[in-house]
């Protein structure tokens, strides 16, 4: 079974998260980086959940990662593959896997950042299997 193209619902965005969605429109997936303890975190937020420092930058991910786990929701009007992808930067993000054969997915598979459209015109970070 292959993933079908779909338009996603709009993600609710808090005031705090507005710049995350501004960045996705420019093709970037932002993660949190703490300038005090140097750790990265996801989802990005106002302070570092590791050391509580507010000296945090929201930085673009390389967009490369591997599948930590996934599940194909068969009992949905349009089946879809939810997944946790571990980015090369070291944080794991919730996402959907697209442009793929559901039955060929595997934990450990390399994936790359891509984007889908939401109903309100936002760019939604998604992942697809990397070529080769």
């Amino acid at each position: 079974m292959s993933a079908q193209q779909k338009t996603y619902v709009d993600p609710p965005a808090t005031v705090e998260a507005e710049r995350f969605w501004a960045a996705t429109a420019n093709g970037q997936l932002l993660i949190g980086h703490c300038n005090t303890c140097n750790a990265v975190h996801y989802y990005p937020r106002s302070l570092c959940p590791g050391c509580f420092s507010e000296d945090v930058d929201w930085v673009p991910s390389s967009g490369k990662g591997t599948i930590y786990s996934y599940s194909v929701m068969r009992r949905a009007p349009v089946p879809y593959a939810i997944a946790y992808v571990t980015l090369d930067e070291g944080v794991t993000v919730l996402t959907n896997l697209v442009d793929c054969d559901f039955d060929a997915l595997a934990i450990g598979q390399k994936v790359t950042l891509t984007f889908g459209d939401t109903e309100g015109g936002k760019a939604l970070p998604l992942f697809k299997p990397s070529d080769g």
Binding site: Y8, V9, D10, P11, P12, A13, T14, E16, A17, F20, W21, I31, G32, A39, V40, H41, Y42, Y43, R45, C48, P49, G50, Y68, S69, Y70, S71, V72, M73, R74, R75, A76, Y80, I82, A83, Y84, T86, G90, V91, T92, V93, L94, T95, N96, I107, G108, T118, L124
Partner: protein, 391 residues
């Protein structure tokens, strides 16, 4: 042996309904409260502490105290999803020990079935102001597919199989056949489970719990009150709670908060997993039971599949009888919150009042464990160790 206990569970009640189309949520709370107080031999005027969670309507504890006409001096509305009521038992013990109250009433009720809630297969939004929601909800996280990702990862790391997970449902069904109130009373086989429709890989329909209305209540009392109530009260020997979340993106779905709540409870009780005659384990899905048993120390991490196989959880057959009422998997999962019924069946076992076909002989020490929120994101875990009056 006579172990000391700071408080006792004197009354329990599980609502017999599984579909409450003609009752309000407040009404269900009151009905279970009445049932548990009658079971304890107490009245509502004896209640001086009230505990409830997010399922209570309106302003929660305030609204329900007013509805039931309670005059209490201690209130606790800790909300950790389906584990709340197991947390409440521990909090009630501490409140009683601190002199805050002497008769604590804990209630749960809801009617997701009557309200047509798509419990497991539609994403649940806890509010647009929740900081995680914008990063999660749009991807379609449902109760089922988030637990499914835990199962998928557990299989990947430890070689756990769908057949091993299926044994958990099989065991629950063997118990549920004797429960006249159970939603699913047919005994199922491993083949039945793995051949049932796939909901979200690798979880099949029969890996999932039932959806039911109803509720339950507990009455926790001081040793002084318990002394005047006969010999059916059950000792609370230990309790532990924990939370687990995504830790800023350091995700590990192969364990639960039971890894911490269990040892805390066992340490307080000065007991070990090997001492338990019976266990009630939260069973929203088969994988929930498997990971929890590992985390509580009933087997090594990763060995849960082999541990639950071949009927090891079936009363009278295996070494660790579990969920002898049929659990959430077959009997009842009121308001999608199974912690309450876990405590109730453990109390029945310790009173030797479980169904004769599933009663554990000489049951003296038991464990009840609750899981709340989602194993795939953020969760509350709570464990209580209970003892019969001869414990």
């Amino acid at each position: 042996m006579s172990r000391n206990s700071k408080a006792y569970i004197a009354g329990v009640y599980e609502h017999p309904t599984r579909h409450a189309a003609d009752k309000s949520i407040a009404q269900l709370h009151a009905e279970v409260a009445k049932g548990a107080l009658a079971d304890a031999g107490l009245t509502k005027d004896d209640v001086d502490g009230y505990f409830c969670a997010g399922d209570a309507p309106g302003l929660g504890g305030l609204t329900m105290a007013e509805y039931m006409g309670l005059d209490v001096k201690h209130i606790d509305t800790t909300e950790t999803g389906g584990s709340s009521y197991v947390v409440h038992v521990g909090h009630a013990v501490e409140a009683i020990a601190a002199g805050q109250c002497s008769v604590a009433l804990i209630t749960l009720a809801g009617r997701p079935k009557a309200e047509g809630m798509a419990t497991g297969t539609k994403p649940r939004n806890y509010g647009d102001t929740s900081p995680d929601v914008g990063f999660e909800l749009v991807y379609g996280p449902t109760v089922v597919n988030m637990y499914a990702m835990a199962a998928m990862r557990h299989m990947h790391e430890y070689g756990t199989t769908s057949e091993q997970l299926a044994w958990i449902k099989v065991a629950a069904s063997h118990h549920a056949q004797h429960n006249e109130h159970a939603v699913l009373r047919d005994v199922v086989t491993v083949e039945d489970v793995v051949n049932s429709p796939m909901i979200s890989d690798p979880l099949h329909r029969l890996d999932c719990c039932v959806i039911s209305d109803g509720g339950g209540a507990l009455v926790v009392v001081s040793p002084e009150i318990a002394a005047g109530l006969g010999d059916r009260s059950v000792k609370v020997l230990g309790h532990g709670e924990a939370i687990k979340h995504l830790q800023g993106g350091q995700v590990d779905l192969t364990y639960t908060g039971a890894r911490w709540s269990g040892p805390r409870a066992f340490e307080r009780a000065k007991l070990t997993p090997a001492d338990m005659d019976y266990v009630s384990i939260y069973d929203s899905f088969t994988i929930t039971v498997l990971e929890t048993l590992e985390d509580l120390g009933f087997c090594e991490k990763g060995a849960g599949g082999a541990f639950v196989a071949d009927g090891n959880l079936i009363s009278g057959v295996g070494k660790l009888p579990f969920n002898t009422d049929g659990g959430g998997l077959c009997n009842n999962h009121p308001n999608n919150r199974g912690g309450m019924t876990k405590v109730i069946e453990a109390v029945r076992q310790l009173r030797h009042e479980a169904h004769p076909k599933v009663q554990v002989p000489d049951c003296t020490l038991a464990l009840a464990h609750g899981t709340g929120g989602s194993i795939g994101t953020r969760m509350g875990s709570a464990t209580v160790i209970l003892g019969g009056n001869d414990a």
